[in-house]
Amino acid sequence: MATTPTDPMDDIDEDAAARGAVYATLAKAFEYPEESFHSAAADGTLEADLRACLDRTGLNVAVPSLTTDDDYKTLAARYNDIFELGYSEYTDRTDGSLEAEGPPVPLYESKYRPDHSWNDVNLDLSRAYSHYGLEIDQDERDNHDALTYELEFAGYLARREAAVGEDAAIARLDFHDRHLGHAAAGVADRLADEPGTDIYGGFGELLEAFVRADRNDLADRLEDRR
């Protein structure tokens, strides 16, 4: 550990900080893989340190295997296959029901919110990011409901809770209920049904389990304050 007992780290809410680190890691994991991500996944340091972070959260979350034997190109191709490339398919050709018009596991919350319009989901997120002074990088912009944005935002709120003030915890709980909980469960369900997910299958399990555990913990803590 880089910290010592005299480090100001002692003055930061370590549990929330660790949760923030887990969210930041998950955000990276669901982005198109970079070489550094692949290296950490291949040599096992990703799994080990993520496990260590989770140990510091006080949440009881099992960590699945998060290593890969893929070389970098294979991992990138796997990501593309699962998350990026897709087209319309039909599950039932007799009644014409449409399975998906995107990839097998879309990384957008609105795809898992059949009762909510795209606009409703995205507008609410837009206001949420905006409320906290955050904007989407326009150099390579994506929709507000992109899972990585939501995970980055969850990490941001957790770090605010760790370093600025507890009231972020209420926002975190609300964010789980309004958005991230739906996205995480949807992505995990789809990943569980998808063959050949390799490391992404593990990340799907972790995503769902961690978000659920964090949410339930927040709900317990804030039961009287909502």
Binding site: A2, T3, P8, M9, D11, A17, A21, A24, T25, A27, K28, S36, T45, L46, A48, D49, L50, A52, R56, K73, A76, A77, N80, E84, G86, Y87, S88, Y90, R93, L98, E101, G102, P103, Y108, K111, N122, L123, S126, A128, Y129, S130, H131, G133, L134, E135, I136, Q138, E140, R141, N143, E152, Y156, R159, R160, A162, A163, V164, I170, A171, D174
Partner: protein, 952 residues
């Protein structure tokens, strides 16, 4: 719970301040999780623009929904699909995201007597936002890793993608195979800057620009044949000026939604509206009378109506004498026009062999003014067709020529002979239309003050479309319904022309040397049609190519070899999905291409079968112009938001590719290459400089940005910057409000006038300029050897080719649908929910019952070429015997990736491969989208059965 007591920006011993920590910088390191350092450099997608540790009381967030109807900005834009709508929209933006669009509704009114031009739009445009934000957007450059079409891709950087393409292109040019590089993009009018982006680069490379209007079978060949012009139409507002409108195979209520109001409104004003459709279509149900000829029998119906008009003396004799070839004499022995040179007339003409002969009221032979032989080229407005004598229409006599006495007859005599075959009994037998009904319609049409035909794709997709066109055109010619408000034959199929022509042309093809190719011929030639068609057609294709009437690239080399095409760029189109004969294309043409690059905002079928896909900006993320021949306005695309992901505008993409080619060419030290055909040098070491240079003014780097390219078009077009006038339309003007064009350039046949809807043909009908035909007149008689050989010198009804696709009992056609613009929106969830959500065929109940098919069944439609699995819809409005498969579903929307075109073989009509006159070709010569073989598809035969049936 303890709290950090650092000052906000002071770093702790690990080098992290509180602000950085909340931003996510080094947060994992602070926890000692060095294995997570890849996630430790802050947030990637979200940026903290305000203080990350500022005070954000949470309760405010709960009220966020109240701000839903606030906008940061509203941008004007439209949609760049192969659609004639050109509808201006407002696009609403908040937080860098498009949320919805709304019809702009501010086209200025130019004629108070016409209905308000606003609003324009349709349900597709109203949900384009879904595409902008869709997860089927292509967001990054992709390189194929599996087989073509397999869907295996790797994301690559822009630099990697451009370098790979650039090196390939340099290799091809240096090897002299620049004419193996193809660029396919359709319809300039829908976004001329995007069209020009790739066309400009392909032009500088010496590559091949593909036609589209003929390939899509949108081009009505009868119009160049008869009127010497690609197409010229009244704007839709002119429908309102008609007293009588026949919608002939044009399903206005489905395919012309923004304009349909004029059709309905004309009815309120008292116009009679007749529909000619094989089915009781969505437009037929709104007409006053519906005629339902058998499929492919429109020619017989039109000639029957013409016979009624002539027989009852309802024709406009003055119009026919002055404006048409009807008085011209034709030799009985050869079938050729009698030339003035043969009878000692017109010896002062430049070429008396191309001057034609009439007989005046006194029986004297007279030269026909305005013939090609006395004109300076196809278009020569210094001459006139006005007559100073009264020619006879009916002539049958002999004349003395150098060769002795020759029997001659006028075109009119020949035509009336031809028409006399179309008796009521014959017409009824051929078409199924009642004898009295069609004759009454013919009479009403001839007697109306202003009568118009709206001519659609339903009659243009047949093998004999040229004959069909000529026969239907004959109705407006016989009745003199040309050149005046409310008249004409308006063929609204595809967008053949762009108003701001000159600016677009010099932007797209700066060298002035265009290696254009007829795409139908190019596609079928390289897909092996010479081995897969009848011997006569194959021979005529060879002859046309050998004589240089139609080009095919790569061209034959001096050693007699012809290389294969090697490289294809596709943008703004879905060539692979839309190709007729697609089985042969996929099996034979596609493997010849070493590199297919698709520039696209979505993964359509062409993208899926490409090697490299480059992410393009959507329509709301770029600058461009929008125009259509349905109206006379120009309005812009402006970028409401930044392109999603790594997407770039088409202009930027091709500009960057030019830059990379120049960079690599300089690094590789390549030498300039002399063009085999044109007097120019292809110098790849300066190609970027050439790409961004304004060739009109010489300004270096004047065209770096796409907005500058849009302004260039406006600046250099007569329609927006007329010569000799202070008036000019600028980009700022059209961003403020759509602007009506100020003038019509030389490629239009009438002027744009204040207070009047645009109506074509006035240059000829009113100003008496020669029509741009061989004879200088509307020409219904074509004395080309091939036409004479085939018995098509005059419009005549012929059965289509037999057994196209095999000997099957049902006719197969593929009309345009309501819920997509071709393949765009075919995969839109909203649009799919308005229909059955998957490829569907419409069947007459009798045909279905006979085959044990019920509504909703999965069925196979099949012929000798293949089989496609689709859903059956029982459609009582259909005539028996036709399978109607509304087209353009993507290949991947069918179970086996065989699509609607799988059942369509390669076939084309030789009459559309000619040059005329054969030696000089002023009247008919290949020019992309003006004259070339059409990619027809309506003669196909199929059968249908419940899915899983026996294939034998």
């Amino acid at each position: 719970m303890s709290r950090n007591d650092l000052t906000d920006d002071e770093a702790d011993s690990a080098g992290i301040s509180r602000r950085d920590f909340v931003r996510g910088l080094g947060a994992a390191s602070l926890l000692g999780a060095t294995g997570l350092s890849f996630a430790d450099d802050g947030m990637d997608g979200l940026e903290a623009v305000d203080d990350p540790i500022g005070n954000y009381p949470y309760r405010d967030w709960e009220d966020l929904y109240r701000d839903e109807w606030d906008w940061d900005s509203v941008a004007r834009s439209t949609h760049s699909v192969n659609c004639t709508g050109s509808c201006s929209w407002n696009v609403y933006v908040k937080d860098g995201q498009v949320w919805r669009e709304e019809q702009a509704g501010d086209y200025p009114t130019f004629d108070e007597s016409l209905p308000d031009p606003n609003p324009r739009g349709c349900q597709k445009g109203a949900c384009y936002t879904d595409y902008v934000n869709a997860d089927q957007r292509v967001l990054h450059p992709l390189r194929r890793t599996g087989e073509r079409g397999e869907g295996q891709w790797e994301r690559i950087s822009w630099d990697e993608a451009l370098t790979e393409i650039a090196d390939h292109v340099i290799d091809e040019v240096q090897a002299g195979r620049y004419d193996a590089i193809s660029g396919f993009t359709p319809i300039p009018a829908m976004s001329p800057v995007s069209f020009a982006s790739g066309s400009r680069l392909v032009n500088l490379l010496g590559g091949v620009s593909h036609s589209f209007y003929d390939w899509y079978s949108d081009l009505p060949p009868g119009q160049p044949i008869t009127w010497g012009t690609q197409t010229d139409n009244a704007e839709s507002a002119d429908w309102h000026n008609s007293d009588y409108i026949i919608a002939w195979g044009s399903n206005i209520n489905v395919t012309r939604i923004p304009d349909a109001k004029y059709f309905l409104d004309a009815g309120y004003e008292g116009a009679k509206r007749v529909g000619v459709f094989t089915d009781y279509s969505q437009t037929a149900i709104h007409t006053d009378e519906w005629l339902s000829p058998h499929g492919g029998s429109d020619t017989a119906l039109a000639l029957g109506m013409a016979q009624t008009i002539v027989d009852e003396g309802l024709h406009d004799e003055a119009h026919l004498k002055e404006q048409t070839d009807m008085p011209l004499l034709v030799r009985e022995d050869t079938g050729k026009f009698l030339r003035a040179s043969e009878v000692g007339l017109a010896e002062d003409a430049d070429d008396p062999e191309k001057v034609f002969v009439m007989v005046d009221a006194d029986g004297n032979l007279r030269r026909a003014p305005g013939s090609l032989g006395e004109r300076d080229g196809q278009h020569d407005h210094s001459k006139s067709i006005e007559l100073d004598f009264d020619p006879q229409l009916s002539v049958e006599r002999s004349v003395d020529t150098d060769e002795g006495s020759v029997a001659v007859r006028s075109v009119w005599e020949n035509l009336t002979d031809e028409l006399s075959q179309y008796t009521p009994a014959v017409v009824h037998e051929e078409t199924g239309v009642g004898e009295n009904t069609y004759q009454r319609i013919a009479r009403e049409f001839a007697e109306a003050d202003a009568a118009k035909i709206i001519h659609g794709k339903g009659v243009n997709d047949w093998y004999h479309n040229d004959l069909g066109n000529r026969a239907i055109q004959l109705l407006v010619t016989l009745t003199g319904n040309l050149g005046d408000p409310g008249t004409g034959l308006d063929h609204y199929v595809g967008q053949e022309k762009i108003w701001s022509f000159h600016g677009w042309q010099v932007l797209s093809f700066p060298t002035g040397n265009v290696r254009g190719v007829p795409t139908t011929l190019w596609t079928y030639f390289h897909a092996g049609i010479l081995d897969n068609t009848d011997p006569d057609t194959a021979e005529k294709i060879r002859e046309s190519i050998d004589k240089g009437w139609m080009p095919v690239y790569p061209e034959e080399r001096d050693d007699g070899n012809r290389p294969d095409p090697s490289t294809m760029f596709v943008w703004r189109g879905n060539y692979f999905n839309q190709a007729k004969g697609n089985v042969a294309l996929e099996e034979q043409l596609w493997p010849k291409l070493d590199l297919v690059v698709d520039i696209n905002f979505r993964m359509d079928s062409t993208a899926m079968y490409s090697d490299i896909v480059l992410p393009a900006a959507s329509h709301y993320e770029k600058y461009d112009l929008s125009e259509t021949d349905m109206h006379t306005y120009v309005h812009p695309f402006t970028p409401a938001v930044e392109p999603l992901g790594e997407a770039k505008t088409d202009w930027e993409i091709f500009r960057l590719l030019a830059e990379k080619i120049q960079e690599r060419a300089q690094e590789r030290g390549v030498e300039p290459v002399e063009d085999r055909k044109f007097d120019r040098t292809i110098d790849l070491t300066t190609i970027y400089d050439d790409y961004v240079r304004d060739w009109e003014t010489g300004e270096e780097e004047g065209l770096v940005e796409d907005k500058a390219a849009a302004e260039f078009i406006l600046e250099h077009s007569e329609e927006t910057n007329p010569e000799g006038s202070d008036e000019q339309i600028t980009f700022d003007d059209i961003d403020e409000q759509p602007q009506r064009f100020l003038e019509a350039g030389d490629h239009w046949t009438s002027d744009i006038k204040d207070g009047e809807a645009y109506v074509p043909w006035q240059d000829y009908v009113h100003d008496k300029n020669p029509w741009p035909t061989f004879t200088g007149r509307q020409q219904y008689y074509i004395d080309h050897d091939w036409y004479l050989e085939l018995g098509e010198e005059l419009p005549t009804h012929k059965e289509g080719p037999e057994d196209t696709g095999g000997d099957y009992p049902l006719s197969y056609n593929t009309p345009h649908g309501r819920w997509s613009i071709h393949s765009t929106w075919r995969d839109s969830t909203k649009m799919l929910r308005l229909q059955r959500g998957e490829p569907v065929v419409y069947l007459n109940p009798e045909d279905a019952e006979e085959r044990g098919i019920e509504d909703g069944d999965t069925v196979e439609v099949y012929n000798d070429l293949g089989s496609v699995e689709v859903q059956a819809k029982i459609y009582p409005s259909s005539e028996p015997g036709t399978v109607r498969h509304f087209f353009s579903w993507e290949k991947f929307q069918y179970p086996d990736r065989d699509n609607f075109n799988t059942l369509v073989p390669m076939y084309m009509k030789p009459t559309q491969l000619v040059q005329y006159p054969e030696d000089t070709g002023e009247h008919l010569h290949f020019f992309p989208n003006y004259w070339g073989p059409t990619g027809v598809n309506s003669d196909v035969r199929v059968d249908i059965r419940p899915s899983g049936g026996d294939t034998e």
